[in-house]
Symmetry: C2
Subunit: 457 residues, 2 copies
Amino acid sequence: MRTYVLDPGARIPLYEQLYRAVKEDILSGAIAGGEKLPSKRALAEHLSVSRITVENAYEQLLAEGYLISRPRSGYFAQRLQTLPSAVRNNTPHTEQTAVGVPSASASYFPFSVWAKLMRGVLLDRREQLLQPVANVGLEELRRAIAGMLRRSRGIEADPDCIVIGAGAEYLYNILIQLLGRDRCFGLEDPGHGKIAQVYGANLVRAVPVALDEEGVSVEALRQSEATVMHLSPGHQYPTGIVTPIGRRRQLMAWLAESPHRWLIEDDYDSEFRFGGKPIPTMFSMDDVGRVIYMNTFSRTITPALRISYMILPPELMAQYRARLGFYSCTVPAFEQLTLARFLEEGYFEKHLNRMRRHYRLLRDDFLEKLGASPCADRILVQGHEAGLHMLLRLETALSDEEVERRLAEVGVRAASLRRYEMRPAADTRQGVMVVSYSDLEQEQLPMLIHVLAEITA
Amino acid sequence: MRTYVLDPGARIPLYEQLYRAVKEDILSGAIAGGEKLPSKRALAEHLSVSRITVENAYEQLLAEGYLISRPRSGYFAQRLQTLPSAVRNNTPHTEQTAVGVPSASASYFPFSVWAKLMRGVLLDRREQLLQPVANVGLEELRRAIAGMLRRSRGIEADPDCIVIGAGAEYLYNILIQLLGRDRCFGLEDPGHGKIAQVYGANLVRAVPVALDEEGVSVEALRQSEATVMHLSPGHQYPTGIVTPIGRRRQLMAWLAESPHRWLIEDDYDSEFRFGGKPIPTMFSMDDVGRVIYMNTFSRTITPALRISYMILPPELMAQYRARLGFYSCTVPAFEQLTLARFLEEGYFEKHLNRMRRHYRLLRDDFLEKLGASPCADRILVQGHEAGLHMLLRLETALSDEEVERRLAEVGVRAASLRRYEMRPAADTRQGVMVVSYSDLEQEQLPMLIHVLAEITA
């Protein structure tokens, strides 16, 4: 068994030392792709550390795609060719995604199950369909969400601290009113344009905070005036960066320094991770009660359904009830009851698993075909471990607009990464495309590769 | 046939002169209760005025409850005892309503029809249920709303200027962002507390504007700093005042004086008028393009359904699309499609007619029982021509809180009018109760009268 020298006296915690060392070994090839790793118990004994230490390190490696876990079989190193390409190019944690935050393809939605549940709600819940809905949403749905979060995300959420709303944008509006208009909101740059638009439409101060390869740069955050940081550490949009544990701890330290600081953890995309489990949320790490967790079902179920939610820390929840409890819930009881059943009866997780499988196959097929194509050397793929999009870094003489146009011609949704920048980045990003493959069909892949070869010729 | 002297040279238009004269005759008894009035054509010929003049006058009298119209029979003067009590006490236009803006009783909602339409949508419209919804809402629903408004409200609305949103409160938030945070919003005082709360939560300047017996006082409005007046001329909450045409013209004059002025016509309750047709909206009178019309289905269908809409003047609509078009529609496609069918297939109007009949009978029964009770002289009933609530002006030694408590004990929702005041009114309003009878059952009436007799004893 491989031995790692871990230093209990170092400033970096043991699990992170172990995580770094194992990752280094995988990247260098010292641990071969496909090699089975020791069990958590065995490694803990071997290194004389607690099992929790190994567990935390493995979890992070899983989340970032370095390890894969096979049920009843154990942990295996990811094969180098399926490792994030960026990783092989010294930008370790850059995992990225793309354009207009696509939803999962509607054709895979289990419509007949949903329709069956709706008919059931119509039959059984007449009374509730005619009563006003509590401002925070129906308890039934809040409980179902808490259960789902516990099972799939490791989040312990009090259903009484969950607020249901008609879409994330609506909840951003509510958060501005709740946290206060005098605050300065930090936005990830590059980032999702709509978030900036919501803050802009509300005329509150919002400043771009630059990302580095681990996500929000703490240095940039400290230099900014932001007191509320709106971020997606689980899978940043559009770069797809998964913020590692070390950076998360730094962000938590920033948060803890002042009672006036807040984090809005926008976990919009955590469901579509292909490699390993999602990293534990910052909400779960929060011991100062100032991380707000948000997520939505619009993207995972259907965009025609507008249901999002947020979990507020208890003190903030009390403030919400006192000051904004007058608002009526914006989501119809009918959708809430149907979604509650969809979650409770296991359909949501089944649906997600099916989606994940589908997109992983599509992605693998694309990567394989790309690898075999003559343009393989001129294209760097990033962010394909998660989400419904990836970043293509193209060596091309064409303008970004021209590349977008050429891809659109073969039915591929793509947008230049530059479109997501608030402040133009110092390093040029020409030729970086955020490509959505949620609408992509297997049959389109040869044509897509063909066009990419032309673009980079 | 009675003759009225109308002066075409006067500043007051002919139809308003006629309306005033007929109203005077009804109030004085010169036209007896139940007396048939001349047909519009006959009276127009007799007075040598256009038929439109008579039509406008009759319409206003109908809307305010002075006339009733019997199909194929003609126009009749309202009987004095069922006239607005306040009218008999020199506060001519005061028609009032009450507590928490109640919804129509859920038990009357045609649930099986709604469920049938929902099942139909599930069968036929699968594709649309999986597609994103246009920011302004589905065209199908916007067309259906425009059709309903044309038929029942005389409003000519361009479906492309309608914006669908998850509840009126959500749309108020959008309007603040659209009109601008630097404006000062005028709120009716007394008024619906939630409206003030929404402006308050957004930290925009909002000032109370006092009402007189015709609705928003133009003098008070001019003395305020308000540049946007948020009002319900069709049926003010909680006073139930129906703003007469003359006052509407004065408000339109105020609006026309500056391009920076706006009116938000919140027509939340126009569906539940018992006497005659609703008065034409200010939106329909608007020739400067600065009246925004709003209404909701939450109260008429079920509060568990959150669908409201607003009609924006074309120029404002263009601004909305440019600046706020990025927002996703907050109402699920499913509810939009179901409601579109409910409107298109005539169910909505049928439902409203049924509701109106039900509440009118309940009200009549209450008034009759009250009239026959020993406390009749100590109670003045106002605002019972419309809405699901009325104002009871009680001669009582009890505090308002005690009266509320006594009524709650017999299951009657009531709140002191004082609770709706932003600035305490100069004239004391002690003993004025806003009473909701939307949950009231016929069987409760004797008990209610009994308690009222005790309270005013």
